[in-house]
Symmetry: C2
Subunit: 208 residues, 2 copies
C-alpha cells in the first residue's frame, strides 16, 4: 500500500511536555518528522535556528503571512508562531508522517485547512503539576510565567475540539500512546478506501 503521510497536530498547555514527546517519537520512528515552525520569539538557551525554530523578525514574519506562505499562524504572548507550508505537503505526499507542535489557535486553523489531520491534546496529570513544571523550568520571568499560566487555562478550555487526549503522566506511556494513535489512524476505513475498493471490486475471481 502506498499511503499518504499523516498530519498529526500535537497541542497542549505550555509546560505539559509536548516538545519532549515529539522529540522522542521522531527519535524512535524514522518515518515521523516534526515540522519546524517559524517564530518571532527569541531563542532560549541551547536553541538553534533551523533546528528548534526558524527565528524571524516581526517584519519578516508579517511578510510570510501576506504572501500566504504559512499553513497556520498565531500570535501568542506577543510573539508570532507559524508553520511554513513549504515541505509539509511534499513530506505528506512522500508518505512521511508530519507532527506539528503548535498552539490551539494554529491547531484549529490546520483542522479547517486539513480535515484529514488529527488533533491530539496533551493533558498534564493535574493542573497543579502543570504549574509546578512551568515555574520549575526557570527560563522565564514572573510576568511571562503568569502569561503562560493564563494561556494554559485558556487552551484547556478548547480540549473538546480535539480528536484524542493523552495524559502525560509518564513519558514512555505518552510516546507509546502517540505511536499507537498514528498506527491506528492509518488503519481507519477512510484512509483505506482504495485498498478496499481494489480488493472488493471487479477483480473477485470468477471461479468463486
Amino acid at each position: 500500500m502506498n499511503h499518504k503521510g499523516l498530519l498529526v497536530v500535537v497541542c497542549g498547555p505550555s509546560g505539559v511536555g509536548k516538545g519532549t514527546i515529539c522529540r522522542e517519537i521522531v527519535g524512535r520512528n524514522e518515518n515521523v518528522y516534526v515540522s519546524i515552525s517559524a517564530t518571532t520569539r527569541k531563542p532560549r538557551k541551547g536553541e538553534t535556528d533551523g533546528v528548534h525554530y526558524y527565528y524571524k523578525t516581526e517584519q519578516e514574519f508579517e511578510n510570510m503571512i501576506e504572501s500566504d506562505e504559512l499553513l497556520e499562524w498565531a500570535k501568542y504572548c506577543k510573539n508570532y508562531y507559524g508553520t511554513p507550508k513549504t515541505s509539509i505537503e511534499t513530506m505528506l505526499d512522500d508518505g512521511k508522517d508530519v507532527i506539528l507542535e503548535i498552539d490551539v489557535q494554529g491547531a484549529l486553523q490546520v483542522k479547517r485547512n486539513f480535515p484529514d489531520g488529527i488533533l491530539i491534546f496533551i493533558l498534564p496529570p493535574s493542573l497543579n503539576e502543570l504549574k509546578d513544571r512551568i515555574v520549575g523550568r526557570g527560563t522565564e520571568s514572573d510576568d511571562v510565567i503568569h502569561a503562560r499560566l493564563l494561556a494554559a487555562k485558556g487552551e484547556l478550555k478548547h480540549v473538546n475540539e480535539y480528536d484524542y487526549i493523552i495524559v502525560n503522566d509518564k513519558l514512555h506511556h505518552a510516546v507509546s500512546s502517540l505511536e499507537s494513535i498514528i498506527t491506528a489512524e492509518k488503519c481507519r476505513l477512510k484512509r483505506n478506501i482504495q485498498t478496499v475498493e481494489r480488493m472488493c471490486g471487479d477483480d473477485i475471481p470468477s471461479d468463486w
Copy 2:
C-alpha cells in the same frame, strides 16, 4: 483513570486468520479477553466446548434467542452463531477489553446495540490468497468450501460498515495494529470526557 473496557468486534472472511490474531492478542495482553460464542456448528478436530465455542443443539440455541440471552446471533452456513450476553457487560464494567470474533451479520447487530463498540475488518493480502487459505485448511468438504467462499465474497461487500481495516499480511503486523487500535481508541476524546471535565472544570487553581 477508571475506564470502562472496550468492546472490539473483529470480522473478516473465513480463512483470513481472525482466530489466530485474536488468540495472539489475548496471549500478549492480560486485560484483553475473547468472548466465547455459542454455536450449533459441530466441533472441528481439536476444539473444546467452553474454550472455542459453547456447542449447542438447534433447540437449545433457539431457546436462547427467545429468552433474549444473546447480544447478537446469526445463521451462517446452516449453523447458528451467537454471543451470550452473560459476562460481557460485567467484563466491560470491570475495565476489561472484550473481543468478539463474529460474522458480519452479528457485527452490525452489535454496532446497533453498542454504538461505542469498534468494528474491525481483517482483509487478506489478496482474494486469491484467501481462497488458497480456505482450501488449504483441509478440514472442510468441497461443498462447505464453496459455501465459505461465497460467504466471504458477501462479507467483503460490507467492509464499508467498519471503523478500521487491518490487512493480515504478516501475523505480527496485524496483531500489533489491533493492539494500537485498542490503545488509540482509549485516547479518543469521547472516552475521556470525564477526565477532561474534571481537569478543566471549577478546580482550576484560584491563584492562576
